[in-house]
Symmetry: C2
Subunit: 132 residues, 2 copies
DNA sequence: CAATTGATGTAATAACATAACATTTGCAAT
DNA sequence: ATTGCAAATGTTATGTTATTACATCAATTG
């Protein structure tokens, strides 16, 4: 899928995420956009819904937050499952793909006749700087 | 770690999860235990905290719910990373372990000097029955 | 223009989770 | 048995995340 032209609200939300050091909650995004006219959570959630659909933003389920894709222009969706390492101290997020992991997981679910739609892999821990 | 004798509240919460067909939210558990004297969310969350610590219950991050471990008596924690396939239609959960997946993920984070603490792998989709 | 579609605005509410503080219970040391 | 401590519990209030419902606006199209 190619990313269509973003609307005003979608651009605002995306810009906030791109400029952020790490993942942000929807309400944190809302606060950062109050000066631009945002008043309600739904304005953020609706924009995020589209950005997730376009694959330019990822949702981190384990911390209820959102992050801009680390592979701009590449169309992340096409790389298979995306995995994240999330530093619980500084919030830094590393994003990566591993086809062997994809393969093993998909082989297992196929054996169960399970039809996968969306897979989450999130590793929480400490980044190099924070672990020191 | 061996599982200590459960307290009254821990037992009640665990029994509800064991008898359930699928994962339950903390508030659903609360409702099921009102007849047994539960009045507040914290009574559920505190019991869950211990049950998670003992490894007899798992938290499904992507659906804010909890499920009894599918491997009773085995001490799930010792099997490495636990992965789940969650049917979005009927709620059924399958739990499995794959050492190769563990190995690949841990190798990657080690290469980044990232120190992993807790890993989530959750595959949402449709089970065999629901996909038909 | 009328109809349709997608985006937006706003208020209210639902769902999930924790903070703060008081009380009770079980158990060990004196 | 009493004292002291740690773990568990009870209770109220609050904080955080997400959705429902409904109204309006803008662009497209027949
Ligand atoms: Zn990405
Ligand atoms: Zn860090
Ligand atoms: Zn388990
Ligand atoms: Zn199903």
């Amino acid at each position: 899928m190619t990313t269509p032209q973003l609307t005003k609200n979608q651009s605002l939300v995306f810009d906030v995420l791109e400029k952020a050091e790490g993942p942000l909650s929807a309400y944190t995004i809302l606060d950062k956009l109050r000066d631009h006219g945002f008043r309600a959570p739904l304005q953020v959630y609706r924009a995020l819904e589209k950005l997730l659909e376009y694959g330019v933003v990822h949702r981190l389920e384990s911390i209820n937050s959102f992050v801009a894709c680390a592979h701009p222009g590449e169309n992340c969706h096409s790389h298979g499952i995306v995995a994240f390492a999330i530093c619980e101290s500084c919030g830094q997020v590393m994003e990566f793909h591993d086809h062997e992991v994809d393969h093993r997981l998909m082989a297992w679910v196929r054996g169960q006749k399970f039809k996968p739609e969306k897979t989450t892999i999130e590793i929480r821990g400490l980044c190099e700087a924070c672990a020191a």
